[in-house]
Symmetry: C2
Subunit: 146 residues, 2 copies
């Protein structure tokens, strides 16, 4: 007996495995990237077909969404992998993700500080810039002295 109109999510036992090209199209990533992620352990395949083709589960799509999202937030693949490891251990990764994101804010803040400092130095240097200075020994550009 076959329930017509039954949604795919209800037929959990019949998980249809995807080959890498399908997953690439559905996720918007390239085949190369998916293989790369699998090599890194970010994206486990459920197995191989008889011909040796990687087979991916439906959940890979959520996983790739997760990876994509954290990447745009500036986390490295290694940090993302740590979060995924928590998830794969059956725990809720939200706490770990939160900590990673807080660390990321810290990194951003110090980067901004450095950039502001550098900008200030550049501004100061350009403020007193003389486009045609007197030659001063063998110095290549006299404007550059601290």
């Amino acid at each position: 007996m076959q329930a017509i109109g039954m949604t795919a999510s209800l037929t959990a036992s019949t998980t249809v495995a995807m080959k890498i090209g399908v997953l690439a199209r559905r996720s918007g990533m390239t085949v190369k990237t998916l293989r790369y992620y699998e090599d890194l352990g970010l994206l486990p395949a459920i197995g191989r077909s008889e011909g040796g083709y990687r087979l991916f589960a439906e959940e890979s799509l959520q996983r790739l969404e997760f990876i994509r999202r954290l990447k745009t937030l500036g986390l490295s693949l290694e940090e993302i992998q740590r979060c995924l490891a928590v998830h794969d251990a059956g725990e809720l990764p939200c706490g770990d993700i939160q900590r990673q994101l807080e660390r990321q804010i810290g990194r951003i803040d110090s980067q901004i500080q450095e950039l502001r400092q550098l900008r200030k130095e550049l501004q100061g240097l350009l403020a007193g810039w003389q486009s045609d200075p007197a030659k001063d020994g063998d110095v290549i550009c006299p404007n550059l002295r601290v």
Copy 2:
């Protein structure tokens, strides 16, 4: 006739060439770095000794100071090389350096903008963070939705 006590800078004709190790010690850079810069064309040697050793002129020290300074200001070696090329053509490089530094300020500004934008997104995300959310389908972390 040899003037005793005459400073080295006055005996310009007797430019004493340095081998790479001496230049490294005097400039505070490594031998590896100096060879690298010479390969790139940033730091021309005046020639080779009979044994094939690179020989550098006294001016290399000013040149390395220049490179070091522009590097700390965030210019790439390629940009620095463009400035040095102007200098080596006998022109005053100050105008070119000025333009490079202005471009650098522009880059810094857009980097800061990007970082601020990212920080805002992270802050917003963490503001509504729930460390123990309800499970929502197969989504790995419900907090991450845009």
